[in-house]
């Protein structure tokens, strides 16, 4: 049995220690907001927080997070919308939306550590892949959070 805390809730999982956290979340706990994209930590669609740090769940064995706190997109919005999610709505960031949960988890972690990131810091931290090409709006949304939500929205 592997004990982990997911979104504040203690969970016991009867799974192999080397099962990636991604598949423990998706297929065992049925938390479907964390996505599979590549399985080799290239795309970031599976980004979750483990003890506050962004990790790529597809290459993180669930055994390695025993006793740790995992936060997924389903937990990010509790109690209300996270400031990143608000900015994502304001700037109409998502297109297909598939990568966006990982993208928002990465952005939330970046802003936690670096509340006022420069463009270069955003480029360095946000290595998540988005095939629809929402990068300009992702950056705009991150900067609007950094500015306390004061920047003009993308829409006219």
């Amino acid at each position: 049995m592997i004990s982990i805390t997911v979104n504040g809730k203690a969970q016991k999982l009867d799974v192999e220690e080397d099962m990636p956290l991604l598949w423990a979340l998706r297929d065992e706990l049925k938390l479907m907001g964390t996505k599979y994209g590549c399985g080799i930590a290239q795309c970031g669609a599976c980004t979750v927080h483990v003890d506050g740090q962004p990790v790529r769940a597809c290459v993180t064995p669930v055994g390695s997070v025993q006793g740790k706190k995992v936060l997924t997109i389903e937990g990010l919005s509790k109690p209300g919308l996270h400031k990143v999610q608000k900015a994502w709505i304001e700037h109409a960031v998502p297109q297909c939306g598939y990568c966006q949960t990982g993208m928002m988890m990465a952005a939330a972690a970046l802003l936690q550590k670096t509340p006022q990131p420069t463009d270069a810091q955003i480029d360095d931290a946000m290595t998540n892949l988005c095939r629809c090409g929402t990068y300009a709006r992702v950056k705009k949304a991150i900067k609007s959070v950094a500015a306390g939500g004061k920047s003009a929205p993308a829409k006219a």
Partner: protein, 717 residues
């Protein structure tokens, strides 16, 4: 609750603010309450609830392009309802068949969602409005002509009586719809909902991770499957040793198809792990030696063939070439590319005890998915239902080829009574695509003594998408997706010849975002070469070949003006420009680029102008332009190489996608001139490569004619 019926599914969707969420834990009482408040179907497209909420049915698929919202805007505009009360649901493919295709085409491609359904959707909204007004007028015993509507409320001016749509919807639904020919549509200049930046309906749920993508389907007792297909396209399974796999934890079975093997387990990771332990012997067929080199040789031979079919032949090209003061000739090449949707191919299938086959999948065409499921399941269409899930990208991969749906059904057939969710690994996804065709094009232009182009001859050697996916679309030996931009170019060159060498290696090809866009790269870079050879400025050279009333000209001028064409640039920054039309729209793009001494390109600014006739949601159109630009920047380093009959690349480490740091500033200028309807999902892709490569030429004097290319090729001597 063990099963969810279509009816429950619709109600759940509506209850959750029209989000496409599958919830199985809603207690029966909630359903009972919802059932009591059944909406009235005023037309097939429009459901109005007693509490005035409006549910608009959507037949096309939302894959991030935003047409879901645009389509709803068009209906709502004519319906005159309160936009704040608008929700949506997908039209059921099964009901579609039973109701004689009442929702028209479900195909989502060719940037056609809005432009090919706008008229009947606006008419559906207007018809429903007329029916609602007539129902209210009947109740009041007044003339409908004396009633007005706004925001879903009908008012009889003289008596000051008011009633909301929800109160008269049931009565309206029993009326005979007006004759379509008599239904009048608004002048777009009077639009209040369409043409405006209304917030996209799908975004609020997407930031919560709530939408159910194909891979997220979660059904009671569901099993997961991972699949391995013959690495060499068209190959088959010879034998499988699954002894080890079948002993692994969670494994429920191994399915051997004709050209694939799948492992089914209680968790996808377990299924995929067990898959790796299979010993599969493949019959590779005759294509095990095909390589990039053999394909290139095949294309090259095509260029030299005599008597190729003509896509265009005007004037006397050979005579003009002979009479030319100067002839410019070049060959351009680009490789196979995969769609690389972030969500891999996936399908969930469930042969239910009642004889119905249900399929949940990410599809660009619900009807095509149903046909594929019916064929693979051996059931008539009426016995198949397809639940359209949110798509994690489409870009053309999930339309015509429904390979993954067929596989999902074949796998589930071995587990009758249980839902089975098949997800392709990224490796399978990358190595079993329907790729953008490889192509090799030779262009030849004749210049007279004044530097004017008197003739252009293009020969295109390219696999045919239509031959594989829609053979009836080939006319007189021509696949229009292979010859576009040459066959239909509007440059006023008096003598033109466009020939097509259809060469089909065994690698499957498909509709990749803006099918045929390579031709824009070839033509617009070649035109730049010809301008250079003629000693002319590239923009002026193009304008001189475009008629005054050509919309290509108008949009090119708009782009050049917005891009400050001709004005000074910062040191080290250079411009390029390109124009080409497609998918119903006219577009031009200018790029500002610098190239560092290591030969690395930086795209600073892209200015895009598009005339789509009308614009339904400007911000969604701008988002498409931004996405198209960065999508296409990937072309400079992406390629699929064919080696031993298979695709060599397997994941994002060797088929990289563009990242945040590469995203240039994109300025989109929407310049609709009205009178026609053009698309937005793809036109923005057309001119990205040529605008940037023309700027690279301006920066380096080096002409890139082959994609992808390395920094070494641009390194300054």
């Amino acid at each position: 609750m063990n099963a969810i019926t279509r009816r429950e599914f619709i109600q759940v969707s509506a209850a959750s603010g029209a989000a496409l969420t599958l919830e199985f834990s809603i207690p029966g009482t909630a359903f009972a309450q919802k059932a009591a408040a059944t909406p009235a179907e005023v037309t097939a497209w429009i459901l109005i609830h007693p509490d005035d909420r409006v549910t608009i049915r959507i037949a096309r698929s939302e894959m991030g392009q935003g047409s879901l919202t645009g389509l709803a805007q068009l209906v709502a505009e004519e319906l005159e309802c309160d936009w704040a009360k608008v929700g949506w649901e997908y039209a059921s493919p099964n009901e579609h068949v039973k109701r004689k295709r009442v929702w028209g085409s479900m195909s989502t491609g060719g940037s056609a969602g809005v432009r090919t359904s706008q008229e009947y959707l606006r008419k559906a909204g207007a018809s429903a409005r007329e029916m609602l007004v007539a129902a209210a007028a009947d109740q009041w015993k007044v003339s409908p002509a004396d009633c007005t509507v706004a925001n879903g409320v009908i008012t009889h001016g003289a008596s000051k009586r008011r009633v909301s749509y929800g109160k008269v919807a049931a009565a309206a639904a029993t009326r005979t719809p007006p004759d379509e020919k008599t239904v009048k549509l608004k002048d777009p200049k009077d639009w209040k909902i369409a043409g405006k930046d209304v917030a996209r309906l799908d975004i609020p749920d997407k930031v919560l991770g709530k939408p159910v993508f194909g891979v997220d389907v979660n059904l009671p007792g569901m099993l997961m499957a991972s699949i391995a297909q013959c690495p060499v396209f068209l190959g088959k399974v010879k034998s499988v040793d699954s002894a080890a796999a079948e002993k692994m934890r969670g494994v429920k079975g191994v399915v051997k198809g004709t050209d694939f093997v799948a492992v089914v387990a209680d968790n996808w990771w377990r299924a995929n792990n067990a898959l790796k332990s299979l010993k599969i012997e493949w019959d590779e067929g005759a294509n095990g030696k095909v390589s990039d080199e053999s394909i290139k040789a095949m294309l090259k031979a095509g260029l030299d063939e005599k008597g190729l079919p003509n896509a265009r032949s005007t004037g006397d090209v050979p005579a003009a070439m002979t009479a030319a003061t100067k002839v410019v000739e070049a060959e351009y090449y680009s490789p196979y590319l995969s769609h690389a949707t972030m969500e891999p191919m996936t399908a969930t299938a469930w042969f239910k005890d009642d004889g119905m086959l249900h399929v949940w999948t990410s599809t660009q065409n619900g009807e095509a998915s149903m046909a594929a499921a019916s064929e693979a399941g051996g059931l008539p269409l009426e016995m198949v239902e397809v639940h359209k899930m949110m798509l994690g990208g489409g870009f053309g991969r999930r339309g015509a080829p429904q390979d993954y749906v067929k596989q999902g059904v074949i796998i589930a057939k071995e587990f009758k009574g249980k839902p089975v969710k098949m997800i392709w690994s990224r490796e399978e996804d990358m190595q079993h695509g329907f790729y953008r065709p490889v192509s090799l094009v030779r262009m030849k232009a004749a210049l007279d003594k004044d530097g004017a182009v008197t003739a252009m001859h293009s020969t295109i050697a390219c696999p045919s998408i239509l031959a594989l996916l829609r053979p009836e679309g080939i006319q007189k030996g021509i696949d229009f997706t292979a010859v576009r931009t040459f066959a239909d170019m509007t440059y006023t060159i008096p003598n033109q010849l466009c020939e097509y060498a259809q060469k089909n290696p065994h690698v499957p090809v498909g509709f990749w975002r803006a099918p045929g866009l390579q031709n824009s790269f070839y033509r617009e870079c070649f035109i730049d070469e010809v301008a250079h050879a003629a000693g002319k400025e590239p923009l002026a050279f193009r304008l001189a070949m475009l008629k005054p009333d050509d919309k290509n000209r108008l949009v090119l001028e708009a782009c050049a003006k917005a891009a400050d064409w001709g004005k000074p640039l910062p040191p080290g920054v250079f411009r390029g420009i390109a124009q080409s039309d497609g998918f119903g729209s006219y577009t031009a793009m200018a790029a500002e680029v610098s190239v560092n001494p290591a030969g690395e390109i930086k795209v600073h600014r892209v200015v895009f102008a598009i005339d789509s006739g009308y614009v339904v949601n400007p911000d969604a159109c701008r988002a498409q332009a931004e996405g198209n630009v960065i999508f296409c920047i990937g072309q400079f380093y992406q390629a699929h190489h064919i080696k031993d009959g298979r695709v060599a690349e397997s994941n994002f480490h060797d088929f990289p996608l563009p990242k945040m740091a590469e995203m240039p500033k994109v300025e989109t200028h929407l310049v609709p001139t009205g009178g026609f309807w053009g698309g937005h999902g793809e036109p923005g892709a057309l001119n990205v490569a040529p605008a940037i490569m023309n700027a690279v030429f301006a920066a380096t004097g080096k002409r890139i004619r082959t994609l992808p290319f390395t920094a070494d090729e641009l390194k300054k001597a």
